[in-house]
């Protein structure tokens, strides 16, 4: 399958633009007829299907994907931080359908401080995955019963996987109180 490498559109320097072909499938047609411009992009690259959605309708579409389109297993939820973009966060769901043996990637763009409805009502296994996204990126999920840090200590300041968090940066305050050392190694 030949790839068309699109050169990055002007003005979005620094953001990796996946090269891909448009994805044509009944699912996409259905969503596009229902939501029109909310479905920003439906592409296939490297053999993987990806839907890019507007954040306002993403939650509804996730519901539809789970209930109508049989994507009953949420494999992963993660985020990517593009600090120079207008909406810096890419929230990514990777879904899988057991009956169809199909995998799908769903993305949406979030602004700084923008929160997103929790997917726990749809798939209960997203509990810890969302907590980790919150822990690492600071993206809040509305309706999450227990949104607190999971991997880092409770009183840690900062969200490490953001691009403005240095690789050897530590939370000065936490390190001083708990380890008794001045941070900065």
């Amino acid at each position: 399958m030949s790839e068309e490498t699109k050169s990055p559109p002007p003005g979005s320097a620094g953001e990796p633009k996946p090269a891909g072909q448009p994805w044509l499938s009944p699912l996409v047609t259905k969503l596009k007829t229902r939501y029109g411009s909310g479905v920003l992009e439906a592409s296939t690259s490297l053999g993987q299907n990806c839907l890019v959605l507007d954040s306002s309708i993403a939650h509804e579409i996730l519901n539809i994907l789970s209930e109508e389109e049989e994507f009953d297993y949420c494999v992963d939820i993660t985020a990517v931080h593009y600090p120079k973009r207008e909406k810096p966060f890419d929230l990514v769901w990777i879904l899988y359908s057991f009956p169809r043996n199909q995998r799908l990637r769903v993305k949406t763009m979030l602004a700084e401080q923008e929160s997103f409805p929790s997917s726990i009502p749809i798939w209960s296994g997203t509990n810890w995955l969302e907590r980790e996204v919150y822990d690492m990126f600071g993206i809040r999920f509305d309706g999450h019963p227990d949104l607190r840090r999971i991997l880092l200590p409770e009183d840690w300041k900062g969200h490490p996987l953001r691009k403005d968090y240095g690789i050897i940066e530590q939370d000065q305050e936490w390190v001083q109180t708990n380890l008794g050392i001045e941070s900065g190694q």
């Binding site: 790839e3 490498t5 990055p8 620094g14 953001e15 990796p16 633009k17 996946p18 090269a19 891909g20 690259s45 490297l46 053999g47 993987q48 990806c50 009953d72 297993y73 949420c74 494999v75 992963d76 993660t78 990517v80 931080h81 990514v92 990777i94 057991f98 043996n101 995998r103 990637r105 798939w123 209960s124 296994g125 997203t126 509990n127 810890w128 995955l129 980790e132 690492m136 227990d146 607190r148 840090r149 999971i150 991997l151 880092l152 200590p153 409770e154 009183d155 490490p160 996987l161 968090y165 690789i167 109180t177 708990n178 380890l179």
Partner: protein
């Protein structure tokens, strides 16, 4: 590390004046250091007498920021870090990562490399399951299988050591194939191992499978239904023991798995005993795969043509493999430079551990340990 700040745990005791004997509910802490938690896992149990009302897991004691490190290393440099996550099954981790990057680079490993990868990965699956069996039996009280499984696991580790120099964190594969050619006598060693192991697995089964005490300790303990598994995202032997016949090696095959003929063991009830049986069967099926791979090992190069400086075109890819613990996935976003823009590891143990709460509700305290053992978690993977 003193846990000084009291966080609002959902399992709070009522009045601070009551002693634990007055209230109906007891909060019991299985601290990070505990022989049965398989690593630094803190489990807070809310008990009503002996019955468990709820469980809260506190993780993060082994968090090393692997994903952040990934953004600051080149693709090849990140390879050794990947072994250290699920340190028990390091070879699988390496396989998943190398295949994901190969997908980004749009190259394919040559057939011989794929066969070698399958052999080593299945040997690693055996090693991981043997370790699981020994520690799980030890938690339930049977001391002896631990020593037997570790002795047999030694043979596998010897093969790894001869192949790549390391026993545990092997860094066996490279992006594009394998770096090391199989050593002289590799096939002989592996064949000798395949003949040596089945009676040993029979020995473990003889000690445990029909042992009345084992059956009573594991039947109907930690039940989880197939629907719950799918909703929670639980994969691996836990999912298969609940009745869902799904294995990524068959559903979305990778490496050389399409060439091999093997079965997927499935359980019926989704309890600990079924998970035990499923893993024992998986061990036998792994032996079957290894036999087919060793007998059909093709000649040829072991490394594809990979540019010296790896700059995958901008894009993102998600690829997963069937690790011994479940679906191990890598989501890598590339921005066209030598370092990945984002490396996300989807750890099976992390997602499986969420199911602990559901699995132990209504069971007794002694069962919590059995269930943690049967989930087969490795904290290196849970915390990354």
């Amino acid at each position: 590390m003193p846990d000084s700040t009291p966080h609002p745990s959902p399992l709070e005791l009522g009045s601070p004046d009551k002693t634990f004997l007055d209230s109906n509910e007891l909060i019991l802490n299985m601290g990070p250091q505990h022989p049965a938690t398989h690593g630094v896992l803190r489990v807070i149990l809310k008990l009503d007498g002996e019955k468990v009302l709820g469980v809260e897991c506190v993780i993060g004691y082994l968090h090393r920021g692997v994903e952040k490190i990934g953004e600051n290393r080149t693709y090849a440099m990140f390879n050794p870090y990947v072994d250290r996550m699920d340190y028990v099954a390091a070879v699988s981790n390496g396989l998943g990562y190398c295949e994901t990057v190969e997908k980004l680079l749009q190259i394919e490993a040559p057939p011989r490399a794929n066969y070698i990868r399958v052999i080593l990965t299945e040997l690693n699956r055996l090693a991981s399951h043997m370790l699981w069996l020994g520690t799980h039996a030890l938690d339930i009280g049977a001391m002896t299988p631990l020593f037997y499984t570790f002795r047999d696991r030694e043979e596998i580790l010897k093969i790894f050591e001869k192949y790549c120099g390391a026993r545990l964190t092997t860094h066996a594969f490279r992006i594009g194939g394998c770096l090391y050619e199989t050593y002289d006598g590799f096939e002989h060693d592996v064949k000798k191992f395949i003949d040596f192991v089945p009676p040993k697995i029979d020995e473990y089964e003889e000690l445990l499978t029909s042992n009345r005490i084992w059956v009573e300790r594991t039947k109907n303990v930690g039940n989880i239904s197939a629907a719950d598994c799918k909703a929670l995202g639980v994969t691996g032997p836990v999912l298969r023991a609940s009745g869902v016949k799904w294995d990524i090696r068959k559903a979305l095959p990778y490496a050389a798995y399409p060439d091999f003929d093997f079965e997927i063991p499935v359980g019926a009830n989704g309890d600990t005993y079924d998970r035990y049986l499923v893993r024992m069967q998986e061990m036998r099926q792994s032996l079957r795969i290894i036999r087919q791979a060793v007998e059909g090992l093709p000649e040829g190069p072991i490394m594809a043509k990979v540019p010296k400086v790896m700059k995958p075109p901008a894009g993102e890819v998600y690829h997963s493999i069937e690790a011994p613990k479940g679906e191990l996935g890598y989501f890598i976003v590339s921005d066209g430079s030598t370092q990945p823009y984002r490396v996300r590891v989807r750890p099976p143990s992390f997602v499986n551990l969420q199911a602990l709460d559901l699995m132990v509700r209504g069971q007794l305290v002694a069962d919590v340990i059995a269930v943690i053992g049967t989930l087969d978690i490795v904290l290196g993977e849970v915390d990354r």
